[in-house]
């Protein structure tokens, strides 16, 4: 806790002061740092990029991981093989997978363009770069999310499903009315962590796109890193950190309120 809270409070404190490049706090300036921040084009870009990314990433991720879990939820050797394949991405670390992606998505020399038969400028085209980020983000979370969904699906009592099928329910109906509610808590959890990961996304940006091209993939946390670490603008960095925290917090708060009414706990 020491490690999480003290720095956090220091951060908030900093955001209300001017801080020199060496980290010394000078004078209290109240909300001035924030008003400058919100007025800056760079921040507006980060905000819009991060929100757009979240909008693309969360549904895509949820859909892909859940589908994978559902598809692999069968009996048999082939199914087992599928399951194992699906959570294998977890074995590849963050930096390793990003390095791999950097190579395979290289527009001229990478293998993805070759296999797809296209020449998409993954790093030079803003839309493609955003897509790349989403792909990278999904890949990073995929193994873990799949495992969770898989475990949750396995906990759904088979007898209930059989009963439903005997009663003539279609697979879609079975899913919607039976399975989905029963894996509710897990879905909520995955949704929450996904949103949090999306809002806080920074490593793929750091390693793959570095905010480019033309700042189209600069996210909030990446800007914080730029300002705080690289440029020594600690006050700005702290302000961004606080904003990110508040923003994500509010989104999740709203979600948790909603979830309390709808999710079924045994």
């Amino acid at each position: 806790m020491v490690f999480s809270y003290r720095p956090f409070l220091v951060t908030i404190l900093n955001s209300f002061h001017t801080v020199s490049i060496m980290g010394e706090r000078f004078k209290f300036v109240g909300l001035e740092n924030y008003s400058r921040l919100f007025a800056s084009q760079s921040f507006q870009d980060s905000l819009s990029n991060t929100l757009r990314f979240t909008l693309f990433f969360v549904p895509a991720n949820m859909f892909l991981c859940l589908s994978a879990a559902l598809l692999a939820n069968r009996k048999g050797k082939l199914a087992t093989l599928n399951q194992v394949f699906f959570f294998l991405p977890l074995a590849v670390g963050l930096s390793s997978s990003m390095m791999i992606f950097k190579m395979i998505f290289n527009p001229s020399l990478g293998i993805v363009n070759h296999l797809l038969g296209t020449s998409i400028q993954w790093f030079n085209n803003p839309k493609a770069a955003m897509a790349l980020l989403v792909i990278a983000g999904v890949y990073l979370d995929f193994g873990f999310n799949f495992l969770l969904f898989h475990a949750a699906l396995r906990n759904v009592p088979k007898d209930l499903i059989e009963v439903a099928q005997i009663e003539g329910a279609s697979p879609f109906q079975t899913f919607r009315y039976l399975i989905f509610p029963l894996i509710g808590p897990t879905v909520v959890f995955v949704l929450i962590t996904n949103i949090k990961d999306a809002m806080l996304i920074s490593s793929p940006v750091l390693i793959l796109t570095e905010g480019g091209p033309f700042r189209s993939t600069q996210t909030l946390v990446y800007q914080m890193y730029l300002e705080g670490f690289k440029s020594g603008n600690y006050a700005v960095g702290s302000s961004i950190a606080t904003v990110v925290f508040l923003l994500t917090f509010s989104i999740l708060l709203i979600l948790m309120r909603l979830q309390r009414r709808r999710v079924y706990y045994q």
């Binding site: 490690f3 999480s4 720095p7 956090f8 220091v10 980290g23 994978a68 692999a72 069968r74 082939l78 087992t80 399951q83 194992v84 394949f85 699906f86 959570f87 294998l88 991405p89 977890l90 074995a91 590849v92 670390g93 963050l94 930096s95 390793s96 997978s97 390095m99 791999i100 950097k102 190579m103 395979i104 290289n106 001229s108 020399l109 293998i111 363009n113 070759h114 890949y139 495992l147 969770l148 475990a151 396995r154 088979k158 808590p185 897990t186 909520v188 959890f189 949090k196 806080l200 920074s202 946390v221 914080m224 960095g237 950190a241 990110v244 925290f245 917090f249 999740l252 706990y265 045994q266």
Partner: protein, 268 residues
């Protein structure tokens, strides 16, 4: 229907696995293979130089050892703390419990990079630089895991616990003999997650260790030449080396997960 499901699943899983296969293949690429146009999928030969270089140019073995030790220790400690905390949050009632829980969860939202410099001075004052403990100390508390475990524990009926307590079972025993075996799937999953989390950390171990002998493998990877000059060979070899034991471990461990979960229902 089953057939459609199976084929889509298989196709999908192959895509997911592609980067891993590519890495293994690429670890045998020569420099020319990497820069060839059109891009290659298979190496031109069994080029082992990359592996040789990966080991010769850095103390890879030592790095791997360091990573393993810190990751294992960290995982054990973290799981211990998380399980204890989740247990308390689920089954005990005390004033301010929900507020405290919320507070813990809130820390989940803090970007860890913001806290790095402040944490570094704390670690220095404690004299923990260049130690294993220093490397894992910031990772000990994982609000995500506590959150997850609590979600899971909540699906357990309270009557179990009350019955056990009446029978004279202490909390500690309850955890070890009843709660854990049932939660095996989740615990193992989170354990794996912890392990890979700590194992893959880059910036923090870089900051906290100065002696080369204490470096972890992620930092060591970058020593093999960054992507600037496209000399990816040794890097891919190192990545492959890293990946393979974990991949194998996962494949092996995958059965116990399945078994433990199904045995729960079989026993009903």
């Amino acid at each position: 229907m089953r057939f459609i499901k199976a084929s889509i699943a298989t196709l999908f899983s192959l895509v997911v696995i592609f980067p891993i296969i590519y890495t293994i293949s690429a670890s045998f690429f020569t420099y020319a293979d990497f820069t060839s146009i059109p891009a290659k999928l298979l190496p031109s030969s069994f080029y082992l130089e990359n592996y040789v270089r990966a080991f010769a140019e850095t103390s890879l073995a030592r790095f791997l050892a360091n990573s393993f030790v810190t990751a294992t220790l960290g995982m054990l400690l973290r799981m211990g703390i998380s399980i204890g905390a989740a247990y308390a949050f689920t089954f005990f009632t005390f004033k301010g419990r929900d507020v405290l829980f919320f507070v813990v969860i809130a820390t989940m939202l803090l970007p860890s990079d913001a806290l790095i410099l402040a944490n570094y001075s704390t670690i220095r004052t404690l004299g923990l630089t260049d130690t294993y403990l220093g490397i894992i100390s910031t990772k000990l508390l994982s609000p995500t895991h506590i959150f997850m475990l609590r979600q899971y524990f909540k699906t357990m009926s309270r009557e179990y616990r009350e019955a056990a307590l009446i029978e004279g079972c202490s909390d500690a025993r309850f955890i070890t003999t009843l709660l854990l075996p049932i939660s095996k799937a989740v615990v193992i999953t989170l354990g794996i997650h912890s392990f890979s989390n700590i194992f893959n950390d880059y910036l923090w171990p870089l900051l906290v260790t100065n002696k080369e002998g204490m470096r972890t493998v992620q930092v060591g990877l970058t020593m093999l030449g960054f992507s600037e000059n496209l000399d990816y060979g040794p890097q891919f070899a190192a990545i492959a080396l890293l990946m393979i034991p974990i991949v194998i471990a996962f494949i092996i461990m995958h059965s116990p997960i399945q078994n433990s979960v199904s045995s729960r229902f079989a026993g009903r």
